[in-house]
């Protein structure tokens, strides 16, 4: 879906170099980690545990150079389109950060509070972040989803999700 043709949103100027930098740094990290692996006595032949990481890291470094060259020549990665995506205008970081916050809240709360509540917080928070302002309706839907999925996993799939504060009730 992407093409090398110059394109992309206006916000993407130099940040394309950031991608190249990220790839290069990752490549160097992979190579360094591989070189630091202790010698193995089990490995035989030219391909040990470090070989493939070095090749992959090398690939990343080489790609990062070519990507930087491509960007220098005016190439831009084409942002992915989609049914609900509108690529005019810049990224809406506020929404993304609020979503990430809801997501992290669930990760932190799933064990102490239990999935029925942490999951509901995740859904409610995400819906809020995405612009829904039907607070009560959202909360009802969120709780139905989280309790429903808890029971579905417990009885349908024999997977017990964390119960947290509802211990002894669920």
């Amino acid at each position: 879906m992407s093409s090398a043709a110059p394109g992309g949103t206006r916000e993407q100027g130099r940040s394309e170099y950031g991608v190249a930098l990220f790839l290069g740094a990752l490549g160097i990290l992979v190579i360094a980690q591989a070189l630091l692996l202790p010698e193995s006595r089990i490995a035989r032949g030219p391909v040990g545990p470090a070989t493939i990481p070095i090749v992959v890291g090398g690939l990343l470094v080489v790609v990062s150079v070519f990507l930087a060259l491509d960007v220098f020549r005016g190439g831009r990665g084409e942002p992915e389109g989609g049914e609900d995506v509108e690529l005019t205008g810049s990224s809406d970081w506020r929404t993304v950060l609020m979503l990430a916050a809801a997501f992290v809240a669930n990760a932190l709360l799933i064990e102490p509070l239990g999935w029925p509540f942490s999951g509901a917080i995740l859904f409610w928070g995400s819906a809020f972040a995405l612009g829904s302002r039907h607070y009560v309706r959202d909360a009802v839907i969120a709780l139905i989803l989280s309790f429903g999925s808890w029971y579905l996993f417990a009885f349908g799939l024999d997977v017990i999700l964390p119960v947290g504060i509802l211990k002894g009730i669920l």
């Binding site: 089990i42 609900d84 972040a129």
Partner: protein
């Protein structure tokens, strides 16, 4: 016929009331999830992976067969009824399909897509049943060195898909391979890229990677660019076709099948090129070429059949070699591996019940799909109106649920977010997702084969060179050097067909606003960020 006997036994496995129910549920869930805007088939399979955890392998795979076809059909419904396609394979369907829908022929477009998918899916599954055992027999002879070569070919092929940027494809592949490296090295037991984190020692669960890249990445990306204006969904009644629609559709269905299956079956490619080809073929052969661009039914029938046939064809390399060619197949492969089953040449000998049960359930899934989708189409169209806030909140909710349920570990949730962020970055800078997921799944397998090959040859690099692998490496070199070689190929040869297809696709993209070519000229070094775009009067 040996294959047919086995297939009948497969039906014996799949037609138990319980498994039939799973196939049914699979199709229903697959279509319902797949039809939701923003959710493609790969994400559908990834999101529904956790649901099959409690089932035994055979039932799980039978359910997957339903999800697979359901998810794909759901995707094409979306692209016909909305004005933008969700994933690459249905870009072509959207060109004519959406025009038909706008002209009040949505019902016919959905009908020809559904029946075409059924016809193509059935024929292609039959071909799969006939071809796969022989391929598996041949593949048993294939040495680890050859396997490694074929996987290198698969890596290169998925990064060099028509019209995309190779550098970015390779970058995505590198990222995927890196993720695949994390964990304990299987041969020597050394920890690679784990940085002392105990949770990383077993590697990153493929469910987490797939859900992170497809679902979380997509949700975050869409959230950052959410279309705030209401999208216009074209209402649809029960799909139906007139006699003349049938007359214009049946040949494209068959031609689509013929184009799609082989393209799906070679371990390279995916569904984009064959659907392009089918579109161009139908345009050339049509008795009504003037209809193309205004909603020609052939332009829906052909590519849709192609898409389904190539999906079934894609199961040939997946089942016989363990090499997926599409993102959806890659996720399916991961699902199969999570049961401790290694798809490959031995699969047909070791797990005949499973394989033939799966193939039989593809037939069943296909039939259920047709039976369900014709009457349920108006309902699916309603699903398209789901408020976007609930849709993407739901994606994050179910992603977290699935990732957590896999290992009951909070660490996976943070990992999921990190991989989601990676998916976001990849979407933003046009790095394709497919090479990454193929890299994650095939990377460790390729390394294993490489080391096996070298163990057999006692460390001699010459052990990697066999007649078959030489041929395969030859193909790799041609693909890699194609931009240089193309200069020596006569201009008006085959590529003109592809160029025409690419041109049509680009035009379609522009109409649907997928390509942002509008802002191209003002790109370099200027600072027009705050200048209101003439195209969007009120701004956002």
């Amino acid at each position: 016929m040996d294959a047919l006997t086995s297939l009948l036994e497969g039906f014996g496995t799949a037609l138990t009331p319980e498994n039939l129910l799973y196939a049914f549920v699979g199709v229903l869930l697959g279509t319902a999830i797949g039809v939701l805007p923003g959710i493609g088939p790969a994400m559908t399979v990834a999101l529904l992976l956790p649901l099959t955890r409690g089932l035994d392998v055979t039932s799980a795979l039978i359910m997957f067969a339903g999800i697979y076809y359901g998810g794909m059909y759901g995707g094409s419904t979306t692209s016909i009824l909305l004005n933008t396609p969700g994933e690459s394979a249905s870009v072509v369907t959207a060109i004519e399909g959406n025009k038909m829908a706008r002209a009040g022929r949505a019902a016919q477009a959905l009908a020809t897509a559904a029946i075409g998918s059924f016809v193509a899916g059935t024929i292609a599954t039959l071909l799969l049943a006939l071809v796969a055992p022989s391929v598996a027999d041949l593949a048993v002879e294939v040495s680890p060195a050859d396997f490694f070569a074929i996987m290198v070919l698969a890596f290169i092929a998925v990064t060099s898909v028509l019209g995309s940027s190779r550098v970015r494809g390779l970058a995505a592949l590198g990222l995927g391979l890196t993720i695949g490296l994390i964990g304990i090295d299987r041969t020597t037991g050394q920890q690679r890229l784990t940085f002392g984190i105990a949770e990383l020692a077993d590697g990153i669960d493929v469910v987490v990677v797939a859900v992170g890249l497809f679902a979380v990445g997509e949700a975050l990306w869409t959230a950052a660019h959410l279309r705030r204006k209401p999208i216009d969904v074209i209402p649809v009644g029960n799909p139906r076709m007139s006699r003349s629609d049938f007359g214009r559709s049946w040949k494209p269905w068959l031609r689509g099948t013929a184009i799609g299956f082989p393209f799906g079956a070679i371990p390279a490619g995916g569904a984009e090129i064959p659907t392009f080809l089918s579109y161009v073929t139908e345009k050339r052969l049509s008795k009504h070429p003037e209809d193309f661009g205004k909603g020609a039914i052939e332009g829906v029938a052909g590519p849709e059949a192609t898409n389904n046939a190539s999906a079934a064809g894609g199961l040939v390399p997946m089942l016989t070699l363990g090499i997926p060619t599409t993102a959806t197949a890659a996720v399916m492969l991961a699902a199969i591996q999570s049961y401790g089953i290694e798809p490959g040449p031995q699969l047909f000998d070791n797990e005949p019940e499973l394989v033939w049960g799966l193939i039989a359930s593809l037939f069943i899934g296909n039939t259920v799909l047709l039976a369900l989708n014709l009457p349920l189409a108006p309902l699916w169209a309603k699903l398209l109106r789901i408020p976007r806030s609930y849709l993407y909140a739901g994606i994050l909710f179910f992603s977290s649920l699935g990732a957590y349920a896999a290992n009951a570990n909070t660490f996976d949730l943070f990992l999921l977010l990190a991989i989601g962020a990676l998916g976001f970055m990849m979407r933003r800078y046009g790095l394709p997702i497919l090479p990454a997921i193929i890299g994650v799944i095939l990377g460790p397998f390729a390394e294993e084969k490489l080391r096996q090959a070298l163990q057999i040859s006692n460390g001699e690099l010459s052990g990697l060179v066999t007649p078959l692998s030489l041929v395969v490496y030859g193909i790799v070199v041609i693909i890699v050097l194609w931009p240089l070689l193309r200069r020596f190929v006569p201009r008006r040869a085959v590529p003109s067909v592809l160029e025409e297809a690419a041109h049509d696709i680009e035009e379609a993209h522009q109409h649907s606003g997928l390509t942002t070519a509008v802002s191209v000229e003002r790109h370099v070094g200027d600072d027009t960020r705050r200048t209101p775009d003439p195209e969007e009067p009120g701004g956002r």
